[in-house]
Amino acid sequence: MIKLRVNGKPRMFRGAPFKRLLDVLREDFRLTGAKEGCGEGECGACTVLLDGEPVNACLIPVCQAAGRRVETVEALGTPEKLSKLQASFLERGGAQCGICTPGMLVAARAHLASGGRPDDASVREALAGNLCRCTGYQHIVESVLAAAKGAKKPAKAKRPRA
Protein backbone atom coordinates (compact mmCIF):
# COMPACT_ATOMS: atom_id res chain seq x y z
CA MET A 1 0.00 0.00 0.00
CA ILE A 2 1.29 3.45 -0.95
CA LYS A 3 0.35 6.55 1.03
CA LEU A 4 0.58 10.00 -0.45
CA ARG A 5 -1.05 13.42 -0.07
CA VAL A 6 -3.08 14.53 -3.05
CA ASN A 7 -4.45 18.07 -3.16
CA GLY A 8 -4.10 18.34 0.59
CA LYS A 9 -5.83 15.06 1.44
CA PRO A 10 -4.17 11.82 2.56
CA ARG A 11 -4.77 9.10 -0.04
CA MET A 12 -3.92 5.43 -0.23
CA PHE A 13 -3.19 3.41 -3.31
CA ARG A 14 -3.42 -0.36 -3.36
CA GLY A 15 -2.09 -1.77 -6.58
CA ALA A 16 1.00 -2.20 -8.68
CA PRO A 17 3.76 0.07 -7.31
CA PHE A 18 5.06 0.72 -10.82
CA LYS A 19 1.73 2.13 -12.02
CA ARG A 20 2.36 5.63 -13.29
CA LEU A 21 1.39 8.49 -11.00
CA LEU A 22 -0.61 9.88 -13.96
CA ASP A 23 -2.71 6.71 -14.21
CA VAL A 24 -3.21 6.49 -10.44
CA LEU A 25 -4.47 10.08 -10.38
CA ARG A 26 -6.78 9.62 -13.35
CA GLU A 27 -8.04 6.06 -12.89
CA ASP A 28 -7.88 5.42 -9.15
CA PHE A 29 -8.43 8.91 -7.75
CA ARG A 30 -10.65 10.15 -10.62
CA LEU A 31 -8.63 13.33 -11.01
CA THR A 32 -8.71 13.64 -14.77
CA GLY A 33 -7.29 17.16 -15.04
CA ALA A 34 -3.77 16.00 -15.85
CA LYS A 35 -3.75 14.64 -19.41
CA GLU A 36 -1.57 12.20 -21.25
CA GLY A 37 -0.15 13.80 -24.38
CA CYS A 38 3.08 12.21 -25.48
CA GLY A 39 3.92 9.75 -22.70
CA GLU A 40 7.60 10.64 -22.97
CA GLY A 41 8.11 13.85 -21.02
CA GLU A 42 8.06 16.19 -23.98
CA CYS A 43 4.64 17.87 -23.90
CA GLY A 44 3.91 18.65 -20.24
CA ALA A 45 0.16 17.92 -20.47
CA CYS A 46 0.50 15.62 -17.44
CA THR A 47 2.30 18.23 -15.29
CA VAL A 48 1.53 17.99 -11.58
CA LEU A 49 3.39 19.31 -8.55
CA LEU A 50 5.44 16.87 -6.51
CA ASP A 51 6.40 18.50 -3.22
CA GLY A 52 5.66 21.80 -4.92
CA GLU A 53 7.80 21.25 -8.01
CA PRO A 54 6.42 20.69 -11.51
CA VAL A 55 7.05 17.18 -12.84
CA ASN A 56 5.68 14.96 -15.62
CA ALA A 57 3.30 12.48 -13.98
CA CYS A 58 3.74 10.13 -16.97
CA LEU A 59 7.38 9.58 -15.98
CA ILE A 60 6.87 8.77 -12.30
CA PRO A 61 5.94 5.35 -10.95
CA VAL A 62 3.60 5.90 -8.02
CA CYS A 63 6.05 4.20 -5.66
CA GLN A 64 8.32 7.23 -6.10
CA ALA A 65 5.52 9.50 -4.89
CA ALA A 66 5.09 7.57 -1.62
CA GLY A 67 4.93 9.91 1.37
CA ARG A 68 5.03 12.98 -0.83
CA ARG A 69 2.69 15.85 -1.69
CA VAL A 70 1.00 15.82 -5.07
CA GLU A 71 -1.04 18.72 -6.40
CA THR A 72 -3.05 18.62 -9.61
CA VAL A 73 -4.93 21.31 -11.49
CA GLU A 74 -7.99 20.37 -9.43
CA ALA A 75 -6.28 22.02 -6.44
CA LEU A 76 -6.26 25.41 -8.13
CA GLY A 77 -9.96 26.19 -8.13
CA THR A 78 -13.43 24.95 -8.94
CA PRO A 79 -15.77 25.96 -11.78
CA GLU A 80 -17.69 28.04 -9.21
CA LYS A 81 -14.59 29.60 -7.71
CA LEU A 82 -11.78 29.89 -10.22
CA SER A 83 -8.27 30.85 -9.16
CA LYS A 84 -6.88 34.12 -10.52
CA LEU A 85 -4.74 32.17 -12.93
CA GLN A 86 -7.67 30.16 -14.26
CA ALA A 87 -9.87 33.24 -14.60
CA SER A 88 -7.08 35.02 -16.42
CA PHE A 89 -6.65 32.14 -18.91
CA LEU A 90 -10.41 32.29 -19.64
CA GLU A 91 -10.50 36.06 -20.03
CA ARG A 92 -7.47 36.33 -22.27
CA GLY A 93 -7.74 33.35 -24.56
CA GLY A 94 -5.05 31.40 -22.72
CA ALA A 95 -7.09 28.24 -23.25
CA GLN A 96 -8.27 27.05 -26.64
CA CYS A 97 -8.68 23.31 -27.19
CA GLY A 98 -7.80 22.78 -23.53
CA ILE A 99 -5.52 19.75 -23.66
CA CYS A 100 -2.41 21.64 -22.57
CA THR A 101 -4.27 23.93 -20.17
CA PRO A 102 -4.08 21.89 -16.93
CA GLY A 103 -0.35 21.44 -17.38
CA MET A 104 0.12 25.10 -18.27
CA LEU A 105 -1.83 26.20 -15.20
CA VAL A 106 0.11 23.90 -12.88
CA ALA A 107 3.50 24.93 -14.29
CA ALA A 108 2.53 28.61 -14.12
CA ARG A 109 1.29 28.22 -10.58
CA ALA A 110 4.61 26.60 -9.55
CA HIS A 111 6.52 29.45 -11.14
CA LEU A 112 4.57 32.21 -9.41
CA ALA A 113 4.21 30.42 -6.05
CA SER A 114 7.97 29.83 -5.85
CA GLY A 115 8.64 33.54 -6.31
CA GLY A 116 9.53 33.26 -10.00
CA ARG A 117 9.75 36.58 -11.80
CA PRO A 118 6.52 37.74 -13.45
CA ASP A 119 8.21 38.87 -16.66
CA ASP A 120 7.86 37.59 -20.19
CA ALA A 121 11.20 35.74 -20.43
CA SER A 122 10.87 34.06 -17.02
CA VAL A 123 7.31 32.92 -17.69
CA ARG A 124 8.31 31.56 -21.09
CA GLU A 125 11.16 29.59 -19.53
CA ALA A 126 8.88 28.28 -16.76
CA LEU A 127 6.38 27.07 -19.38
CA ALA A 128 9.00 25.77 -21.83
CA GLY A 129 8.17 22.17 -20.93
CA ASN A 130 4.51 22.62 -21.88
CA LEU A 131 3.56 22.43 -25.53
CA CYS A 132 0.49 24.12 -26.99
CA ARG A 133 -0.56 23.65 -30.60
CA CYS A 134 -3.38 26.23 -30.59
CA THR A 135 -2.47 29.54 -29.05
CA GLY A 136 1.05 30.26 -30.26
CA TYR A 137 1.77 30.82 -26.54
CA GLN A 138 1.32 34.60 -26.63
CA HIS A 139 -2.08 34.59 -24.91
CA ILE A 140 -0.92 32.01 -22.39
CA VAL A 141 2.04 34.15 -21.37
CA GLU A 142 -0.20 37.23 -21.20
CA SER A 143 -2.68 35.32 -19.02
CA VAL A 144 0.06 34.35 -16.56
CA LEU A 145 1.51 37.86 -16.45
CA ALA A 146 -1.91 39.41 -15.86
CA ALA A 147 -2.66 36.96 -13.05
CA ALA A 148 0.74 37.66 -11.50
CA LYS A 149 0.07 41.40 -11.46
CA GLY A 150 -3.06 40.81 -9.46
CA ALA A 151 -1.42 38.27 -7.15
CA LYS A 152 -0.05 39.02 -3.73
CA LYS A 153 3.68 38.91 -3.17
CA PRO A 154 4.64 35.30 -2.28
CA ALA A 155 6.66 36.40 0.78
CA LYS A 156 3.57 37.92 2.39
CA ALA A 157 0.87 35.47 1.37
CA LYS A 158 0.37 32.54 3.74
CA ARG A 159 -0.10 30.05 0.95
CA PRO A 160 -0.23 31.76 -2.42
CA ARG A 161 -3.06 30.53 -4.56
CA ALA A 162 -1.70 31.44 -7.96
Binding site: G15, A16, P17, F18, K19, R20, D23, G39, E40, G41, E42, G44, T47, L50, E53, P54, V55, N56, C58, L59, I60, P61, C63, Q64, A107, A110, H111, E125, A126, A128, G129, N130, L131
Partner: protein, 284 residues
Amino acid sequence: MRGDARSMRVLAPRTPAEASRALAADPRALALAGGTDVMVSWNMGLLNGRTVVDLSRLPWRRVRETKAGLELGALCTHADLRRHPDVRARFPLLAEACATVGAAQIQNRGTLGGNLANASPAGDTFPPLAAYEAIVRCVGPTGRREVPLAAFFTGVKRTLLAPGELIESVLLPAPPRPWTRSLFRKVGTRAAQAISKTVFAGLLRVEKGAVADVRLAFGSLAPTVRRLKAAEEFLRGRRLDAEAAARAADLLGLDVSPIDDVRSTREYRLAASRGLLIRFLKGD
Protein backbone atom coordinates in the same frame (compact mmCIF):
# COMPACT_ATOMS: atom_id res chain seq x y z
CA MET B 1 2.33 -2.26 -26.50
CA ARG B 2 2.39 -0.19 -23.35
CA GLY B 3 4.10 -0.51 -20.01
CA ASP B 4 2.40 -3.12 -17.85
CA ALA B 5 2.81 -2.12 -14.21
CA ARG B 6 1.72 -5.54 -12.94
CA SER B 7 4.60 -7.19 -14.76
CA MET B 8 7.17 -5.17 -12.82
CA ARG B 9 8.88 -6.03 -9.57
CA VAL B 10 10.11 -3.03 -7.58
CA LEU B 11 12.89 -3.12 -5.00
CA ALA B 12 13.63 -0.07 -2.87
CA PRO B 13 17.02 -0.61 -1.22
CA ARG B 14 17.97 1.61 1.69
CA THR B 15 21.72 1.24 1.34
CA PRO B 16 24.15 1.31 -1.60
CA ALA B 17 25.31 -2.22 -0.73
CA GLU B 18 21.75 -3.57 -0.97
CA ALA B 19 21.25 -1.76 -4.27
CA SER B 20 24.48 -3.17 -5.71
CA ARG B 21 23.59 -6.68 -4.61
CA ALA B 22 20.14 -6.48 -6.15
CA LEU B 23 21.53 -5.24 -9.47
CA ALA B 24 24.41 -7.72 -9.53
CA ALA B 25 22.04 -10.61 -8.82
CA ASP B 26 19.87 -9.88 -11.86
CA PRO B 27 21.69 -8.68 -14.99
CA ARG B 28 18.38 -7.56 -16.53
CA ALA B 29 17.38 -5.44 -13.53
CA LEU B 30 16.97 -1.73 -14.16
CA ALA B 31 18.47 0.98 -11.98
CA LEU B 32 15.89 3.75 -11.55
CA ALA B 33 16.78 7.25 -10.36
CA GLY B 34 14.71 10.18 -11.69
CA GLY B 35 13.10 8.02 -14.36
CA THR B 36 13.29 10.55 -17.18
CA ASP B 37 14.93 8.00 -19.48
CA VAL B 38 13.78 4.66 -17.99
CA MET B 39 10.11 5.66 -17.92
CA VAL B 40 10.11 6.78 -21.55
CA SER B 41 11.25 3.31 -22.64
CA TRP B 42 8.90 1.69 -20.15
CA ASN B 43 5.92 3.68 -21.46
CA MET B 44 6.71 2.31 -24.91
CA GLY B 45 6.40 -1.20 -23.52
CA LEU B 46 10.09 -1.98 -23.96
CA LEU B 47 10.85 -2.93 -20.35
CA ASN B 48 7.94 -5.10 -19.23
CA GLY B 49 8.66 -7.98 -16.89
CA ARG B 50 11.82 -6.47 -15.48
CA THR B 51 12.90 -5.90 -11.90
CA VAL B 52 13.39 -2.24 -11.03
CA VAL B 53 15.85 -1.19 -8.36
CA ASP B 54 14.66 2.22 -7.19
CA LEU B 55 17.74 4.16 -6.08
CA SER B 56 15.88 7.26 -4.96
CA ARG B 57 16.18 6.44 -1.25
CA LEU B 58 19.98 6.31 -1.28
CA PRO B 59 21.71 9.23 0.49
CA TRP B 60 23.32 10.62 -2.64
CA ARG B 61 21.57 13.92 -3.15
CA ARG B 62 24.02 16.37 -1.69
CA VAL B 63 26.80 18.70 -2.79
CA ARG B 64 29.82 18.87 -0.55
CA GLU B 65 33.21 20.50 -0.44
CA THR B 66 36.18 18.15 -0.34
CA LYS B 67 39.91 18.83 -0.27
CA ALA B 68 40.08 18.19 -4.00
CA GLY B 69 37.08 20.23 -5.06
CA LEU B 70 33.31 19.86 -5.14
CA GLU B 71 31.61 16.49 -4.85
CA LEU B 72 28.16 16.22 -6.42
CA GLY B 73 25.97 13.35 -5.27
CA ALA B 74 24.69 11.22 -8.14
CA LEU B 75 21.05 11.80 -7.17
CA CYS B 76 21.33 15.59 -7.40
CA THR B 77 18.79 16.69 -9.96
CA HIS B 78 19.60 19.12 -12.75
CA ALA B 79 17.42 21.65 -10.90
CA ASP B 80 19.49 21.14 -7.72
CA LEU B 81 22.70 21.80 -9.62
CA ARG B 82 21.53 24.78 -11.67
CA ARG B 83 20.56 26.64 -8.50
CA HIS B 84 23.35 25.49 -6.17
CA PRO B 85 25.45 28.54 -5.22
CA ASP B 86 28.81 26.69 -5.24
CA VAL B 87 28.13 25.03 -8.58
CA ARG B 88 27.06 28.37 -10.08
CA ALA B 89 30.04 30.25 -8.70
CA ARG B 90 32.80 27.73 -9.32
CA PHE B 91 31.58 25.51 -12.15
CA PRO B 92 29.21 27.83 -14.01
CA LEU B 93 29.29 25.85 -17.27
CA LEU B 94 27.75 22.87 -15.49
CA ALA B 95 25.01 25.05 -13.97
CA GLU B 96 24.30 26.50 -17.43
CA ALA B 97 24.19 23.05 -18.99
CA CYS B 98 21.75 21.80 -16.34
CA ALA B 99 19.48 24.75 -17.18
CA THR B 100 19.26 23.57 -20.80
CA VAL B 101 18.28 19.97 -20.03
CA GLY B 102 14.65 19.43 -21.12
CA ALA B 103 12.63 22.00 -19.19
CA ALA B 104 11.58 22.46 -15.55
CA GLN B 105 9.69 19.15 -15.32
CA ILE B 106 12.70 17.13 -16.52
CA GLN B 107 15.23 19.18 -14.55
CA ASN B 108 13.24 18.50 -11.38
CA ARG B 109 13.48 14.74 -11.85
CA GLY B 110 16.48 13.85 -14.02
CA THR B 111 19.65 13.25 -12.02
CA LEU B 112 23.33 13.78 -12.73
CA GLY B 113 24.10 10.10 -12.14
CA GLY B 114 21.20 8.97 -14.30
CA ASN B 115 22.31 11.23 -17.12
CA LEU B 116 25.83 9.77 -16.97
CA ALA B 117 24.65 6.16 -16.72
CA ASN B 118 22.35 6.65 -19.70
CA ALA B 119 25.41 7.73 -21.73
CA SER B 120 23.65 9.50 -24.56
CA PRO B 121 26.06 10.99 -27.12
CA ALA B 122 24.09 14.23 -26.64
CA GLY B 123 24.16 14.52 -22.82
CA ASP B 124 24.12 18.26 -22.14
CA THR B 125 26.15 18.06 -18.95
CA PHE B 126 28.97 16.03 -20.49
CA PRO B 127 30.96 18.77 -22.28
CA PRO B 128 31.20 20.85 -19.07
CA LEU B 129 32.11 17.73 -17.05
CA ALA B 130 34.76 16.84 -19.66
CA ALA B 131 36.17 20.37 -19.62
CA TYR B 132 36.28 20.46 -15.81
CA GLU B 133 37.96 17.02 -15.92
CA ALA B 134 35.34 15.47 -13.66
CA ILE B 135 35.96 12.19 -11.90
CA VAL B 136 33.13 9.68 -11.63
CA ARG B 137 33.07 7.88 -8.28
CA CYS B 138 31.61 4.41 -8.63
CA VAL B 139 30.70 1.87 -5.97
CA GLY B 140 29.91 -1.76 -6.53
CA PRO B 141 30.27 -5.33 -5.33
CA THR B 142 34.06 -5.14 -5.54
CA GLY B 143 34.37 -1.76 -3.84
CA ARG B 144 34.94 1.83 -4.92
CA ARG B 145 36.80 3.25 -7.85
CA GLU B 146 37.33 6.66 -9.39
CA VAL B 147 37.09 6.91 -13.16
CA PRO B 148 38.05 10.02 -15.14
CA LEU B 149 35.12 11.19 -17.25
CA ALA B 150 37.24 10.73 -20.39
CA ALA B 151 37.34 6.97 -19.67
CA PHE B 152 33.82 6.55 -18.31
CA PHE B 153 31.95 6.38 -21.62
CA THR B 154 32.84 3.47 -23.88
CA GLY B 155 30.33 4.10 -26.67
CA VAL B 156 26.77 5.10 -27.49
CA LYS B 157 24.73 4.25 -24.35
CA ARG B 158 27.73 2.35 -22.98
CA THR B 159 29.82 2.98 -19.88
CA LEU B 160 32.53 1.29 -17.87
CA LEU B 161 30.02 0.40 -15.13
CA ALA B 162 30.20 -3.28 -14.21
CA PRO B 163 27.11 -5.28 -13.21
CA GLY B 164 25.92 -4.01 -9.83
CA GLU B 165 28.16 -0.97 -10.00
CA LEU B 166 26.56 2.42 -9.37
CA ILE B 167 27.59 6.04 -9.74
CA GLU B 168 27.85 7.46 -6.24
CA SER B 169 29.03 10.96 -7.04
CA VAL B 170 30.97 13.16 -9.41
CA LEU B 171 34.04 15.04 -8.26
CA LEU B 172 34.87 18.36 -9.85
CA PRO B 173 38.52 19.21 -9.12
CA ALA B 174 39.11 22.87 -8.19
CA PRO B 175 41.12 24.63 -10.91
CA PRO B 176 44.58 25.80 -9.76
CA ARG B 177 43.90 29.35 -10.98
CA PRO B 178 40.80 31.11 -12.27
CA TRP B 179 39.88 30.82 -15.94
CA THR B 180 40.24 33.86 -18.19
CA ARG B 181 37.00 32.96 -19.89
CA SER B 182 34.57 30.12 -20.31
CA LEU B 183 31.62 29.34 -22.54
CA PHE B 184 28.77 26.82 -22.71
CA ARG B 185 26.60 26.69 -25.82
CA LYS B 186 23.97 24.22 -26.89
CA VAL B 187 22.60 24.32 -30.42
CA GLY B 188 19.20 22.68 -30.78
CA THR B 189 15.99 23.18 -32.70
CA ARG B 190 14.55 25.27 -29.88
CA ALA B 191 15.78 26.64 -26.56
CA ALA B 192 14.03 24.04 -24.37
CA GLN B 193 13.10 20.36 -24.75
CA ALA B 194 15.70 19.98 -27.49
CA ILE B 195 18.31 17.32 -27.94
CA SER B 196 21.42 19.08 -29.16
CA LYS B 197 22.78 19.15 -32.68
CA THR B 198 26.07 20.21 -31.13
CA VAL B 199 26.92 21.21 -27.57
CA PHE B 200 30.13 22.92 -26.48
CA ALA B 201 32.02 23.78 -23.31
CA GLY B 202 35.26 25.73 -23.35
CA LEU B 203 37.66 26.90 -20.65
CA LEU B 204 40.63 29.14 -21.34
CA ARG B 205 43.41 30.63 -19.24
CA VAL B 206 45.69 33.22 -20.80
CA GLU B 207 48.90 34.18 -18.99
CA LYS B 208 51.44 36.70 -20.23
CA GLY B 209 49.65 37.00 -23.52
CA ALA B 210 49.75 33.29 -24.36
CA VAL B 211 47.44 30.33 -23.82
CA ALA B 212 48.41 28.69 -20.51
CA ASP B 213 45.57 26.18 -20.46
CA VAL B 214 42.67 25.44 -22.77
CA ARG B 215 40.00 22.77 -22.60
CA LEU B 216 37.55 22.31 -25.45
CA ALA B 217 34.79 19.71 -25.33
CA PHE B 218 31.95 18.87 -27.71
CA GLY B 219 28.93 16.61 -27.39
CA SER B 220 26.73 15.21 -30.19
CA LEU B 221 29.69 15.08 -32.60
CA ALA B 222 30.88 11.53 -31.82
CA PRO B 223 29.61 8.41 -30.01
CA THR B 224 30.78 10.00 -26.74
CA VAL B 225 31.72 13.48 -25.54
CA ARG B 226 35.10 14.51 -26.99
CA ARG B 227 37.91 16.81 -25.92
CA LEU B 228 39.64 18.47 -28.88
CA LYS B 229 43.09 17.19 -28.10
CA ALA B 230 44.68 18.34 -31.37
CA ALA B 231 43.28 21.87 -31.15
CA GLU B 232 44.17 22.15 -27.45
CA GLU B 233 47.74 21.07 -28.12
CA PHE B 234 48.06 23.46 -31.03
CA LEU B 235 46.84 26.38 -28.89
CA ARG B 236 48.90 25.79 -25.76
CA GLY B 237 51.64 28.41 -25.43
CA ARG B 238 50.40 30.32 -28.47
CA ARG B 239 49.16 33.92 -28.74
CA LEU B 240 45.44 33.87 -29.39
CA ASP B 241 44.63 35.85 -32.50
CA ALA B 242 42.14 35.35 -35.30
CA GLU B 243 44.58 33.22 -37.27
CA ALA B 244 45.36 30.91 -34.33
CA ALA B 245 41.61 30.53 -33.65
CA ALA B 246 40.91 29.62 -37.28
CA ARG B 247 43.82 27.17 -37.41
CA ALA B 248 42.68 25.51 -34.18
CA ALA B 249 39.18 25.19 -35.61
CA ASP B 250 40.65 23.52 -38.71
CA LEU B 251 41.79 20.70 -36.39
CA LEU B 252 38.22 19.99 -35.18
CA GLY B 253 37.79 17.03 -37.53
CA LEU B 254 40.74 15.18 -35.96
CA ASP B 255 38.80 14.60 -32.72
CA VAL B 256 35.14 14.40 -33.74
CA SER B 257 33.16 12.45 -36.33
CA PRO B 258 29.60 13.78 -36.56
CA ILE B 259 26.94 11.91 -38.48
CA ASP B 260 23.78 12.74 -40.41
CA ASP B 261 20.75 11.81 -38.32
CA VAL B 262 17.19 12.85 -37.52
CA ARG B 263 18.36 15.98 -35.67
CA SER B 264 21.00 17.40 -37.98
CA THR B 265 23.61 16.73 -40.63
CA ARG B 266 27.34 16.15 -40.41
CA GLU B 267 27.92 19.27 -42.46
CA TYR B 268 25.78 21.53 -40.28
CA ARG B 269 27.22 20.10 -37.06
CA LEU B 270 30.77 20.77 -38.21
CA ALA B 271 29.98 24.28 -39.47
CA ALA B 272 28.10 25.28 -36.29
CA SER B 273 30.77 23.76 -34.05
CA ARG B 274 33.53 25.53 -35.92
CA GLY B 275 31.66 28.80 -35.45
CA LEU B 276 31.24 28.21 -31.71
CA LEU B 277 34.90 27.36 -31.35
CA ILE B 278 36.17 30.42 -33.18
CA ARG B 279 33.78 32.68 -31.29
CA PHE B 280 34.97 31.27 -27.97
CA LEU B 281 38.67 31.49 -28.84
CA LYS B 282 38.40 35.05 -30.15
CA GLY B 283 36.36 36.02 -27.08
CA ASP B 284 33.58 37.83 -28.91
